[in-house]
């Protein structure tokens, strides 16, 4: 028996395509389809699929909201956000809401099934297009210090440099120095990227991000 999956997408054509993708995979079993957020939520509670593919933009509840509801209900369902938007902030918002994966609708069938299998096993999957935007694939980052990790995590939760400085009892300057060092080590250009890269390289975990 394959991984059980629920597909929620309001656009019939893309939904049909995605459905066909999933049907080509023996390891994946599509257990339900939803055309809006409310329907998706109902089916998730009823079917408890291992993985929920959620379109971000849907009538009723949007995908991020449904992901958050899953997280809050502690149902054993891993959410993957499915979208046409590639903004990194969407990725962050989705991850904060508890999604375990982020994939573009234009992803190939292979990528889609890899994403599903990865999150079903408890992993984290970021779309290669989004991931590409955040750096080389084969890259072993220099280890970051404990302090740098703390700074990165607080910054990732949306605190400003000043607030981070206040929480760690260090100066704002020091925070910025730490951030610059983190960017260097991860090859990131900004906070969001450093976070996504941190997640990707396992420097920080998703759990730490959403606590």
């Amino acid at each position: 028996m394959g991984v059980t999956v629920l597909l929620a997408d309001d656009h019939p054509l893309t939904r049909a395509g995605l459905k066909a993708y999933l049907e080509t995979e023996d390891t994946i079993e599509l257990v339900g389809e939803a055309s809006d957020g409310d329907m998706a939520w109902d089916l998730i509670r009823k079917l408890e699929p291992q993985v929920a593919l959620l379109d971000i933009r849907m009538p009723g509840k949007d995908g991020v909201t449904v992901a958050r509801m899953i997280k809050e209900s502690t149902l054993p369902v891993a959410a993957i956000m499915l979208t046409s938007y590639d903004a990194q902030q969407y990725v962050l918002a989705s991850l904060r809401a508890g999604a375990r994966g982020f994939i573009l609708k234009t992803a190939t069938p292979e990528e889609l099934s890899r994403a599903i299998l990865t999150v079903a096993k408890g992993g984290l999957y970021l779309d290669s297009e989004v991931a590409q935007a955040v750096g080389e694939k084969e890259f072993l980052p220099e280890a970051i210090s404990v302090r740098e990790r703390e700074v990165l995590l607080l910054a990732a939760r949306g605190f400003s440099s000043k607030e981070v400085a206040g929480q760690l009892y260090i100066s704002e300057r020091t925070v910025q120095t730490h951030l610059a060092s983190i960017y260097d080590k991860l090859g990131a250009r900004n906070k969001t990227e450093s976070l996504l890269l941190g997640l990707k390289y396992g420097v920080v975990t998703l759990e730490e991000l959403i606590e």
Binding site: H11, L13, T14, G17, A20, Y21, R57, Y85, T106, P109
Partner: protein, 458 residues
């Protein structure tokens, strides 16, 4: 000069006052002096006349004089009673030999330092003024004393002089007093008004509405300025709200277009890619249904084209260039299809209008039909275009619920109802107007009127 209003005004009051004071003072002085001369020559004449008469008398008379007091024969008493003043004759020892009636108070005004032969002024203890002259007879045996009280001789003139003096004084004082209100009620309020206006940010601030200290002219000037500045503020606010509205509409439009692209063509193209990929996978695996994916891909591509076309039509309908009749017919059919209600339009073929007129009617029609559908829940909307004198009229009527038209489009706009306001402004830009006839339960009739411009004349 103009800047020193206070100075000018004060000088304007003070200078004439001072001039009057000086001229009048001089006049009063001169008058006093003239009166003095008159009184002096009068008493000198009187005394000399008497002294001369005494000299004419016989020495014998003079010897016995103290005992023969028959002076009446000289007409002294008649003189004394017919002319003002009095005379007295005193001998060299200072004894009073004769006194006309009224001369009793000689003693009261007599002082030893009265010079001989020259008239002077003296005052008695009551303050009454006299001119007195002492003239000796030829042998210095006797002295004739003549005096006249000013009041008696020059009464009205003295009084006039006093009155004049008082009048001038009153005038000077009152003009000085007048300067105070001038300063308090005119200069100060005017200055503070000028100051306020000077620092006023036009369109942002307004001056104080009233200044109770000021004279009514300045108050009304102030209230006019207040009204003007308030109008300026309102105009600025209106402009700001328009600009805000325009910016907001632009953003909303962009957001709407982005949404339309996302939900439409973007999804369809995504589906197209998916089907192509599925085709590749299934045909590689030799599945028999791979052709279905090609078929679906074609469908998705078709959907993309359809959606893009719709988007273009919505943004700027290309068929507007087909002329009024075709354009309106096209939009009526589209709206009818889209909303699922009856939409008809009747346009005479011979009315040819410039493109901006067609666009205007087209947008009005779109909005009107949408309103009829959304608010009026009408199931039939009909439009007709006709000529009426210098105008071309487009009337749109629905069979919906109707409403109470609000005359305040501006308010509607601010509340987020832009449809009718836009229609009105759109028509206004082409010098036309919009009339709305509706009442609850009656359906609605919109009448758009544009000055007719033949396309050939454009």
């Amino acid at each position: 000069m103009k800047r020193r209003l206070l100075l000018v005004l004060s000088l304007g009051v003070l200078l004439p006052t001072l001039t009057v004071l000086v001229v009048a003072g001089f006049g009063i002085f001169q008058h006093e002096w003239a009166m003095e001369k008159v009184a002096r020559s009068y008493v000198e004449d009187l005394a000399q006349n008497m002294a001369y008469k005494l000299d004419q008398e016989s020495p014998a008379w003079r010897r016995m004089f103290p005992y023969s007091m028959n002076l009446h024969g000289w007409g002294m008493s008649s003189l004394a009673s017919s002319v003002p003043g009095w005379v007295a004759i005193v001998n060299s020892e200072g004894q009073l030999i004769y006194a006309s009636s009224g001369a009793e108070n000689l003693a009261s005004i007599w002082t030893p330092d009265i010079p001989i032969g020259k008239a002077i002024e003296i005052r008695d203890e009551k303050g009454a003024k006299y001119t007195i002259a002492v003239i000796p007879t030829s042998e210095n045996q006797y002295f004739v004393v003549a005096a006249v009280e000013w009041e008696q001789l020059l009464g009205p003139m003295v009084r006039f002089n006093h009155l004049w003096f008082i009048l001038v004084l009153i005038m000077v004082l009152s003009s000085l007093v007048a300067l105070i209100p001038l300063f308090k009620w005119v200069i100060v309020p005017l200055r503070s008004l000028v100051n306020e206006i000077g620092y006023l940010k036009w369109g942002k601030d307004k001056p104080e509405k009233d200044d109770p200290r000021a004279v009514s002219e300045i108050r009304s000037l102030r209230s006019v300025l207040y009204d003007l500045s308030r109008a300026a503020i309102e105009r600025d606010q209106l402009r700001d709200s328009y600009v805000n509205d325009i910016v907001k509409i632009q953003e909303e439009e962009k957001a709407r277009i982005a949404r339309d692209i996302h939900d439409g063509p973007l999804q369809a193209v995504t589906a197209f890619i998916q089907q192509i990929r599925l085709f590749k996978i299934t045909s590689a695996r030799g599945k028999s249904n791979s052709g279905d994916h090609l078929h679906l891909a074609e469908e998705a591509a078709n959907a993309t084209v359809r959606e893009l076309r719709e988007l273009c039509d919505d943004l700027s309908p290309p068929w507007l260039e087909l002329g009024l009749a075709n354009a309106l017919t096209e939009v009526s059919e589209r709206l009818s299809r889209h909303l699922g209600i009856r939409v008809t339009v009747d346009v005479p073929e011979d009315i040819a209008l410039p493109e901006e007129y067609i666009l205007s009617f087209f947008r009005v029609f779109q909005e009107a039909v949408n309103n009829s559908f959304r608010h009026g829940v009408a199931d039939s909307v009909s439009g007709k275009v006709y000529r009426e004198g210098e105008y071309v009229v487009f009337q749109i009527q629905d069979n919906g619920k109707g409403f109470e038209p609000s005359p305040d489009f501006q308010k509607l706009r601010v509340e987020g109802h832009r449809g009718l306001a836009n229609m009105k402004e759109r028509l206004g830009l082409l010098n036309g107007d919009l009339a709305i006839e509706s009442s609850p339960g009656e359906g609605a009739i919109l009448t758009c009127r544009l000055p007719f411009v033949n396309i050939e004349n454009k």
